[in-house]
């Protein structure tokens, strides 16, 4: 901590000096009387003093919180000597707010006394935050000098994105070998009825459909669809972020990713993650609660790192994109490199679907005629882009302001259902 002079010191010294000089010049003792109280205050306030030893701590009730939820915290302080006024100011990163209690406190402290102050924090946005830095200023009784410094005991807080509940998910075209919740198109042991066929030696007796056998006069076996798990790779576009005020396409994409990951993992599907942008991050497909935490932790680190280098999917390790996996891209469709990567994946016979984080409400045309023309051209280009994706067999649906993720998922499901019918 360093000792700094307050504005009083300079002001009072000016008054004293001017008063005494004027008293000498004018030979009026009254002016000395005017300056004397200020001089005495200075003399009293400038006596030597050692820096107080302060122990300041910020204790959080948890290390993880869902964005928008409240988190209890305690600010504790202790001093080795009495302080007439101790000012504590929590240095909070952008995105964290105090909803109950005060972020800046002024208190009086006795020697050795320990005080704690409960506060309630909230995270306005998902992310990883470093908390614990407290700005400290201890003033002397006359407010002439102050000891000030910064105490930092780092506490890491992870704010998970708030995700919406999804009732229906996008089923992949192909299932994997393990048991899960998705009804496979293949025929094997399962619950869902698939077809009837004639009995052949080797069929199990329990699979004989007795009612159909009685009708046909020959043994008939009932076939069923097995329930299998699926592999889903969430492919997040972090090349660009369209931001306006509090809203951002990247924020929406991260929230959608968290919601999709949680829902797929609940169905015992394997979920992987690729954030494709300036910094490439990936997570191998896995299942279970641990994978859910791994996914959210990875996605929290997602940010837009500007890059001008061309990047395609060949940089991804093969194990990240398993065969028959559904690649669910979450993108605002504003970067050509990501669109090219989608086309590349489709060319490699991956089952690709696009959930478009709609950036159009976040972009406003400029005031001029040319600006409006440019805006219309941009909208047309986006339409062309969607048409190109549709021609490649990539379903695309938008979500964002006023349009929930569930609606976009239903849009993609409908498209894929009709596309299948058309092909048939």
């Amino acid at each position: 901590m360093r000792r700094v002079a307050g504005p009083r010191l300079e002001g009072y010294a000016t008054v004293v000096a001017t008063g005494l000089v004027a008293a000498l010049a004018l030979r009026r003792p009254e002016l000395v009387a005017l300056a004397a109280p200020f001089a005495l205050l200075l003399a009293a306030g400038l006596r030597p003093a050692a820096a107080p030893r302060l122990e300041v701590s910020l204790t959080l009730a948890g290390e993880r919180v869902v964005e928008g939820d409240a988190l209890a915290a305690t600010l504790g302080v202790r001093s080795d000597r009495a302080l007439d006024r101790l000012e504590l100011a929590l240095a909070l990163p952008a995105g964290i707010e105090v909803v109950d209690g005060a972020a800046a406190l002024a208190l009086r402290l006795r020697a050795g006394e320990e005080r704690t102050f409960p506060i309630t924090l909230t995270c306005r946005r998902w992310g990883v935050y470093d908390l614990g830095r407290v700005e400290v200023r201890a003033r002397d009784p006359f407010r002439l000098l102050a000891w000030q410094g910064s105490v930092a005991r780092r506490q890491r807080l992870r704010a998970y994105p708030r995700s919406e509940t999804l009732r229906l998910l996008l089923p992949p075209r192909e299932t994997q070998a393990f048991a899960g919740s998705e009804v496979a198109r293949a025929k094997a042991d399962g619950i869902e009825f698939a077809d009837l066929r004639a009995y052949v030696p080797g069929d199990r007796v329990r699979s004989i459909h007795w009612r159909a056998s009685a009708r046909r006069g020959a043994l008939v076996v009932g076939e069923r669809h097995p329930e299998r798990n699926t592999d889903v790779v969430l492919f997040v576009d972090s090349f660009a972020d369209v931001r306006r005020g509090e809203r951002s396409t990247l924020d929406d994409a991260v929230r959608a990713t968290a919601a999709l990951a949680a829902s797929y993992l609940q169905r015992r599907d394997r979920v992987g993650l690729v954030t494709f942008g300036g910094v490439l991050r990936w997570l191998q497909p896995g299942l279970g609660l641990a994978q859910r935490y791994r996914l959210v932790e990875t996605v929290l680190e997602t940010g837009v790192e500007p890059t001008y280098t061309w990047r395609d999917v060949s940089v991804l390790p093969a194990r990240i994109l398993p065969p028959k996996a559904l690649v669910l891209a979450i993108t605002p469709l504003v970067d050509e490199r990501f669109v090219a990567a989608l086309a590349d994946l489709r060319a490699r016979r991956f089952d690709v679907a696009v959930l478009e984080v709609d950036p159009e409400p976040l972009v406003e045309p400029g005031p001029g005629e040319l600006d409006r023309l440019a805006y219309r051209l941009w909208l047309l280009e986006r339409e062309v882009l969607r048409f190109r994706l549709a021609r490649l067999g990539i379903a695309c649906a938008r979500f964002g302001e006023g349009s929930p993720l569930a609606t976009a998922l239903e849009g993609v499901r409908t498209y894929r259902r009709h596309a299948r019918l058309a092909r048939a």
Binding site: P7, E10, A13, V15, A17, F38, L40, E87, A104
Partner: protein, 142 residues
């Protein structure tokens, strides 16, 4: 003369208000000096032997300065504990009272030594210079 003094006082008040509104602590001494200067001019014009009202003026200036700096500190937005404002008010009142007593004591002393010749005047001047020097040395040491 009175009108000019009133105008100067009003100007000093304006400067003080500007300092408080715009959060300029460096401006706070200016109105104090202006008021002190007005008082000095009045002393010069009146040519009274010793004005006992100086003690009240000194206390008033100190209380004004303390209130102005307190007002500026409040702008920093620290949430103070209950009773802090009362304690602070009492402290400023005590400072004002102490200033009144100190100034009054000095005036009494000045009145006592007024008729005793040049030696005491010189001693007073030396003491004042000594105080200034001590303050300057202390400020430099920090």
């Amino acid at each position: 003369m009175a009108a000019a003094g009133a105008r100067a006082a009003a100007l000093a008040l304006l400067v003080l208000v500007a300092a408080l509104v715009h959060d300029w602590p460096r401006l706070v001494p200016l109105p104090l000096l202006a008021l002190g200067g007005l008082y000095a001019v009045q002393l010069r014009v009146d040519a009274a032997p010793l004005d006992p009202a100086a003690a009240g003026v000194a206390a008033g200036l100190l209380v004004t300065a303390e209130l102005a700096y307190w007002s500026l500190e409040e702008r920093e937005g620290f949430h103070a504990e209950a009773g802090e404002r009362l304690r602070r008010t009492a402290r400023i009142a005590a400072l004002g009272l102490a200033a009144l007593l100190v100034a009054w004591g000095l005036l009494v002393l000045a009145d006592a030594v007024r008729a005793r010749g040049l030696a005491l005047d010189l001693a007073g001047a030396t003491a004042a210079a000594g105080v200034l020097l001590a303050l300057a040395l202390r400020a430099r040491a920090r």
